[in-house]
Amino acid sequence: MIDVLYFAWVRERIGLPKERVETDAATVADLVEELKAREERYAAAFADLSSLRVAVDQDLTEFDAPLDGAREVAFFPPMTGG
């Protein structure tokens, strides 16, 4: 079980800020494929990975990062703070 978080327009497109996901995905990319296969709103949110960023356990990482032991994965657009 892993907590999956969504922010900004990813949250709006998927329609929820957080969910617990039962998964054996080895990498972030594998998890994304599982989510996209679920429903159209996931497929729409993850259609263009180049416009997304991912953090595993609150550290920015890449989509090919492994998930072993991860408790929290977050998907969001490029940041626009400051």
Binding site: F7, D59, M79, T80
Partner: protein, 147 residues
């Protein structure tokens, strides 16, 4: 040596004065503050800033530590708001104090560049006709390459 993440508005000048107060060791103080811009000239109703609780604090602390590792700073301050801001409201500020102006300027620019692209904040502009997420700028990502 302070990082503050808050919903409440802050008084930029008062924070700048507190930061500078009695600083006899470091002659150079640089501040940056970002103000909620109304690019539509009266059309902006408000700006909403979303963030990632937990990661945001970690990211700001990491950026601040990195700045202190790279430059000999006497002090360093980051304040960033989340929630709802009105046009003209300060969104965030950084301040740096150093013996020489070159260090104070470089560290402040570094803090801003990293904060823009590495701290998990997202801005949404709300106008009378709708709302839209602010898009990141390619120049922001490019700005990181100089450090």
């Amino acid at each position: 040596m302070v990082v503050r993440l808050q919903q409440a508005a802050f008084d930029f000048g008062a924070e700048a004065n507190t930061f500078a107060a009695g600083r006899r060791d470091a002659g150079a103080i640089v501040t940056f503050t970002g103000i909620t811009r109304d690019l539509n000239r009266g059309g902006l109703d408000r700006m909403e800033i979303e963030h990632y609780p937990g990661m945001t604090e970690r990211a700001l602390q990491a950026i601040e530590s990195e700045a202190r590792a790279r430059w000999a700073l006497a002090d360093c301050l980051i304040i960033h708001r989340f929630g709802t801001m009105a046009p003209g409201d300060p969104i965030m500020m950084v301040a740096t104090a150093a013996r020489h102006r070159a260090e104070a300027f470089a560290a402040a620019e570094f803090l801003m560049d990293y904060l823009k692209s590495r701290a998990p904040f997202w801005k949404k502009e709300v106008t009378a006709t709708g709302e839209s997420w602010v898009e990141s700028q390619d120049t922001d990502e490019a700005a990181l390459k100089r450090w």
